[in-house]
Amino acid sequence: MKDCKSYSVAPPLADIALRNIWNLDMALDVNTRSETVELLSREADCLKHKLEEERKKLNDVTLANVAERLEEVTFLNIKPRRLLKGNQAKMLCCDWSPDKRHIVSSSQDGKLLIWDAFTSAKEQTVTMPTTWVMACAYSPSGNLVACGGLDNKVTVFNISNPEEDPSAKKKTVGTHTNFMSCCLFPNSDQQILTGSGDATAALWDVESGQMLQSFHGHTGDIMSIDLSPSEIGNTFISGSCDKMLLLWDMRTGQSVQSFEGHLSDINSVKYHPSGDAVASGSDDSTCRMYDLRADKEVAVYSKESILFGVNSIDFSVSGRILFGGYTDYTINAWDSLKCERVSLLYGHENRVTSIKLSPDGTALASASWDASLRVWA
């Protein structure tokens, strides 16, 4: 009985004491915290101002001015060489095999097709249990293809044996909370990097399906990612519907640099082959180039007559020519230095959704809503 009484008294006392301490602590905490919010936002404003000043100070010339004295890119002899006719469905993405001969394409009806670009023949077909497969990519060995889309997942197929049905060896590697818009294998067959409509990017381990790193920072759907071409390859760039480009460190998961300038959704991002600059294509019908070391936009590729959005971009091997696939059915070739259009590749009968340079730079593949792929060389 005594025990019970002491017990009945003790807890409330202890409780009150605890609660007091907790309250005090919370009060203090809130106090210091509300101050910190203010302090932090003041510091943020200061930093923004400082960044602006510094960028302005280093902005001593414009690319178009410096490039004026260079000779012009005169006569681009790029012709349509192959027409790969698919089913009726809109083509959404394409990628070259490292063998420079095969192309994988994904389409709105959930079909993944493997093409021989030399003969224009369809070699393998994989049917996905979803529609709108928005992304597909070859692995560096050429044995695996990754794809995904409205199913929010990234799925890997082994296509190394043409006799075997690839869907028999299917593996779901990662899942996002919204559609998956882009994917690539960074440097090896063991990992996949994905970008998603849930505003995050993620690095996955192919074997275990584990998420190795996630990348938070965007406030809109990520539409495109690209890996740095440098040997170390530990950084990548992402473009999003929040009109921002972010440069990420893959090891820490933090964004290192950010670039703004576009007036609408960014649909495509691509590293310059030198690795020191990145380009982007947007729904605002412009492409832009940003230098990483100057930390600034250095070029805008636009024309009054171009009114429709850019869906996909890629550089030629030297980086002199920037190709853009547009919603107005065309592919524009820009002189990346003089910021002028040098050629217009016309052939598709609907929106061009994806363009990719072949690994050796001899050809350009394009995918379109007209249900076909074209190879230009």
Binding site: V61, R81, Q257, D291, V298, V317, A377
Partner: protein, 92 residues
């Protein structure tokens, strides 16, 4: 309370991002552009889509029957010139 904390976290993220960006070393735009131009100029000659192929044989996507076409057009040209000469002779 939760909102305050999430606000704080958000603000902290924004500021930390800006701190990282402020710490980035920058070079003048002129220097960056020079480097880009130099990189491109060194590789322009190997850029097939820009300068074309040294010979059409090097192009893996050349028309398979291009030599056949070429033969055909040659034959056609020769035939046409013959007809032209015949016509000229006829009118003379």
């Amino acid at each position: 309370m939760d909102m305050m904390i999430s606000n704080l976290q958000q603000q902290r993220q924004i500021t930390e991002q800006l701190r990282r960006e402020a710490a980035v070393k920058r070079i003048p735009v002129s220097q960056a552009i020079q480097d880009i131009i130099k990189y491109i100029r060194e590789r322009e000659m190997e850029d097939c889509l820009m300068v074309g192929f040294s010979s059409q044989k090097a192009n893996p996507f050349r028309e398979k029957n291009s030599s056949f076409c070429l033969c055909l057009s040659f034959c056609l040209v020769i035939k046409l010139t013959r007809i032209k000469y015949q016509l000229l002779r006829y009118f003379d």
